[in-house]
């Protein structure tokens, strides 16, 4: 066989092999069966929340002005209170927090919006510093804000001497010698509350009325008003995910925290005539709590007073205060001022529940307040219980007062204003 014929023969054999390999197999008969499950989907739920201050518009974590990555730090202010005098109830705001997502939130938290970072350069004890080197700030720092540097049991508060932008890696501070050698990575927490002086008199004031920046005895150094004003957070009830309601009370923060009712002053007026023989005082809706035994004073139009002892606990929204027989003569007409001198007295002596202490004791890093379910007045359920079900909402009253300690002169606080906030947070 010539070489050419041999090549042709081998080529033919390869072709036959290929046909047998690729083509022949499909022609073999066999039984078969098949089913398919096409188009399966899996969808994630949502965990979002809304926040409504008083009767304002609900602020959403997920959308709207200020919302980013399901965090909205720009919800309504709790207060814009002006012309506060010591010993007088400054005001209260109601906040309703609602789970607007489809998933239950196992945890609901409350904390002060403190900005936390760490030192990137150590401090040497005894050396004075006018700036702190830190990892990038998560949010801006205002001049005057307290900056707490801590390591172990050591801590020291510096004060920002100038504003610093978010992401800044250095903060200017009022010169101060370090009280300890703080190593790199020491915690740096920027307190939220800070003081400034007012630059105009309150609206409607008589011409020539003084304001903060005119005075020479009201330094903002150290944020004294933040460190004096006392606050409370009172839960008053909730709407469950299924639409049911409860009105259990729990004092989360403030004087009497851990009990059913915070010490929360009232500032209301009578809605009917009152004499010392009255067994209940008809009043406009309470904006605080009255505890059994508290002294309730009704001031008549001539400045004289009627005094009573409350005979029952009553809380926010109540329109009647049960009382025992009172003292004082005459009749207080509708519209007379009603105050709870017991609660005012308690807060006048309160140096613990200040806004500064809230900032330092209850921020996202230290002591966040986990708002467990309230299962009865003054009683918490297990922390394993869902704390904000899908569709559920919980309502809180947040109040503040500038105390007037007995014998104390508060002139250094004249014409100052404090700026502060709260953060609400839910977890899956």
């Amino acid at each position: 066989m010539s070489l050419g014929k041999l090549k042709a023969f081998l080529t033919l054999l390869m072709a036959l092999g290929a046909v047998a390999y690729f083509g022949g197999d499909g022609t073999l008969a066999s039984f078969s069966a098949e089913t398919a499950n096409p188009g399966s989907t899996i969808a994630s739920g949502t965990l979002t929340m809304s926040n409504t201050v008083n009767s304002g518009t609900a602020c959403l974590s997920s959308s709207g002005t200020g919302a980013s990555n399901n965090v909205n730090s720009s919800c309504d202010k709790l207060f814009t209170i002006t012309n506060v005098a010591p010993g007088v109830y400054a005001g209260v705001a109601q906040v309703t927090v609602k789970n607007t997502g489809s998933l239950n939130a196992s945890k609901l938290w409350l904390w002060a919006p403190t900005t936390s970072t760490t030192l990137t350069a150590a401090l040497t004890g005894g050396t004075s510093y006018t700036s702190l080197a830190v990892t990038a700030l998560k949010s801006a720092v205002a001049a005057g804000q307290g900056i707490v540097v801590s390591s172990g049991t050591h801590s020291q508060t510096f004060y920002a001497s100038a504003a610093a932008a978010a992401n800044a890696t250095s903060v200017s501070v009022t010169s101060q010698a370090a009280n300890f050698s703080y190593p790199v990575s020491s915690y740096v927490d920027v307190n939220d509350c800070y003081d400034q002086t007012t630059t105009s008199a309150p609206s409607g004031s008589p011409s020539g009325t003084t304001y903060g920046s005119q005075l020479n005895f009201n330094s903002t150094a150290g944020n004294p008003m933040c460190g004096t004003m006392v606050t409370y957070v009172q839960e008053t009830g909730q709407v469950t995910g299924s639409g049911g309601t409860t009105s259990y009370s729990y004092c989360w923060l403030g004087n009497s925290s851990g009990q059913s009712l915070c010490v929360a002053p009232i500032s209301v007026t009578t809605t009917g005539s009152v004499t010392s023989a009255s067994s209940a005082l008809p009043v406009s809706a309470l904006n605080g709590n009255v505890k059994n035994g508290d002294t309730i004073v009704v001031t008549k139009s001539d400045g004289s007073t009627l005094s009573f002892a409350a005979t029952q606990d009553v809380t926010f929204g109540a329109t009647s205060i049960p009382v025992g027989s009172g003292s004082g003569s005459g009749t207080a007409t509708s519209g007379s001022k009603v105050s709870d001198t017991t609660s005012i007295g308690s807060l006048n002596a309160d140096t613990t529940n200040t806004i500064t202490n809230f900032d330092t004791s209850h921020n996202s890093r230290v002591g966040p307040v986990q708002l467990a379910q309230v299962t009865a007045n003054g009683t918490l359920g297990n922390t394993g219980l869902t704390q904000l079900s899908s569709g559920a909402s919980r309502t809180f009253e947040i109040g503040i007062m500038l105390p007037a300690p007995t014998g104390g002169i508060q002139n250094a606080l004249q014409g100052l204003f404090s700026t502060f906030g709260l953060t609400w947070h839910i977890d899956q």
Partner: protein
């Protein structure tokens, strides 16, 4: 032998990987993102009001003395004008007066106005030919009869018309028209000077003024008709402090 060793090595490696895998599973699981949501009610403000005092002594034309400006410390101004600038009481029965207009220039109402007399010292009158030796800042008694200086504190309207007597008795109208004043009130000045010396012992002049409001007072020091001879040639130097509080 070498295949067995390899196999053992392979098992060891696989075991190590399995361990590393489970460790990383256990470790990393904590950092898996869960859903969270957060909101902040930022920027709440609470502003304190002000309580400041402006004083005009002896006439509207005078420059107000303010508690909060130059010369003042901690909202107290101790450098206001003299209340009584012609101090000489020549003979018993003479009196000398000064007026004060107090305006609450703050933004909050005052609940209380008080007055006290922190300092009173005695000296000899510059032109005195005879010196009696008594201290006009202290109570003076002759034969059991009080006969020291008298003090009257009266509230007036803006025109200077007396409305109320505050001291030594509280009564409607001028102090001298009160029945309790009819016999005068010898030693009412030294009693005030001795016992009303600070905020704690201060004399209560009632509530107010409200923010923007003014209260007017007239203070009169009298050498009583029955004044003791021991007061001859003596002089009292004293200051008064007006105290406003919320």
């Amino acid at each position: 032998v070498s295949r067995r060793r390899s196999s053992r090595r392979l098992k060891v490696v696989l075991a190590a990987l399995a361990l590393a895998g489970s460790m990383s599973f256990l470790t990393v699981s904590g950092t898996y993102a869960i859903f969270t949501s957060e909101e902040g009610d930022a920027g709440a403000t609470a502003a304190a009001g002000t309580l400041t005092l402006s004083e005009v002594t002896n006439g509207a034309a005078a420059t107000p003395c303010k508690s909060w400006t130059t010369g003042a410390t901690a909202n107290a101004n101790t450098g206001c004008a003299l209340l009584i600038s012609t101090p000489t009481l020549q003979v018993p029965g003479q009196s000398v007066s000064g007026t004060v207009a107090l305006t609450n220039t703050g933004s909050v109402d005052a609940n209380d106005l008080r007055l006290y007399l922190p300092t009173c010292t005695t000296t000899t009158s510059p032109s005195a030919a005879v010196v009696g030796g008594a201290n006009p800042c202290t109570e003076v008694t002759d034969n059991g009869t009080p006969d020291g200086l008298e003090l009257a504190i009266e509230e007036t309207d803006a025109a200077g018309v007396v409305q109320k007597c505050w001291y030594p008795v509280i009564a409607t109208g001028a102090c001298t028209s009160s029945p309790d004043w009819s016999a005068g009130a010898p030693n009412s000045f030294p009693i005030f000077a001795e016992y009303v010396t600070d905020v704690g012992s201060s004399y209560d002049l009632g509530p107010g003024p409200a923010k923007g409001a003014t209260r007017y007072f007239k203070l009169t020091v009298i050498l009583p008709t029955e004044a003791s001879n021991s007061l001859q040639g003596e002089e009292a130097l004293f200051g008064l402090t007006w105290h406003l509080s919320t």
